[in-house]
Symmetry: C2
Subunit: 176 residues, 2 copies
């Protein structure tokens, strides 16, 4: 039977890290360097503590996110061998729902609406693999958990880590 991979959106497909840093610089005129935010939780990377949530609730923010390098080719590659589900914990940010759906339609047009899931808690998702940048999602997942590297998760040690889409493609080449 064909195996399934659940793929997170933020920081796996959509480069929310770079997007939030660019947004912060524009809003507050302060440049955040990636080397200075290694291992720091996302909501603490900005000197203005409430800024990250402000960013997440900004209308249009998800529809203008850049794509993570290699994500389109990476997903196209995985889709030749696996059933792909895009799973985003978008429910906390209701305005993001339509933006995220449209962003996927524009940037990943080969992903059907049938294979997109917006949820709160990902423990309800059933798949063979989950690629995600957040421990809270990977820890409750019953299949094989894969941590996709983002600055905020650099100190996490208890999950298989893949650093970029090239590593994802290489990893799944050797999987059944």
């Amino acid at each position: 039977m064909i195996k399934s991979i659940a793929v997170d959106m933020d920081n796996v497909l959509a480069d929310i890290e770079s997007h939030s840093i660019a947004w912060y610089e524009k809003e507050y005129n302060i440049k955040i360097l990636k080397k200075n935010i290694a291992g720091i939780p996302e909501e603490e990377i900005f000197p203005m503590k409430e800024a990250f949530r402000k960013f997440l609730f900004t209308p249009g923010i998800f529809s203008t996110a850049p794509i993570v390098h290699g994500a389109v080719n990476g997903l196209l590659n995985l889709a030749t061998k696996y059933k792909i589900y895009i799973v985003s914990a978008a429910m906390e940010f209701p305005l993001s729902l339509l933006e995220k759906k449209n962003w996927l339609s524009v940037n990943f047009p080969f992903i059907s609406w049938r294979n997109i899931i917006f949820c709160g808690d990902k423990s309800v998702i059933q798949a063979d693999y989950l690629i995600d940048d957040h421990c809270k999602n990977l820890d409750v997942f019953k299949g094989k958990a894969i941590l996709f590297t983002a600055s905020h998760n650099l100190n996490i040690k208890h999950h298989l880590r893949l650093n970029n889409w090239d590593e994802v493609i290489k990893y799944f080449k050797n999987e059944p």
Copy 2:
């Protein structure tokens, strides 16, 4: 461990059947009687064949849906014993995403965003029970499938059927 129930929205929580019939009468000045649509697929209940899809794509239609009789008390009752997830195959209708989320917030304020899932294909959902009015969802579900009665499913014989929220409450009183 506390068991989980996935609960469909349309025709289980939101009375889309009555809502679409009322909409059709207003739009086309033709009254559809429920006794005449028993066992007929939803997309065929209206003489104007494209009308049901037009209804589904009407802005505001999901935010104005009436509540299925007994659904609020029913869910409150189940929530005392089970973990509840609301699972709606909303992804085909992107405009409905925000409307459905807001409708739930207004009418079922005790349901957290953490427990809401909007998807395409429900086969990816993992729960102990699924209450749904559509066979296509129940047939691929790996837990216990419960058919919630709607006019369109009256001829379905191969799932446990519960006719209304009183029957749902009674059924789960005797479940572990």
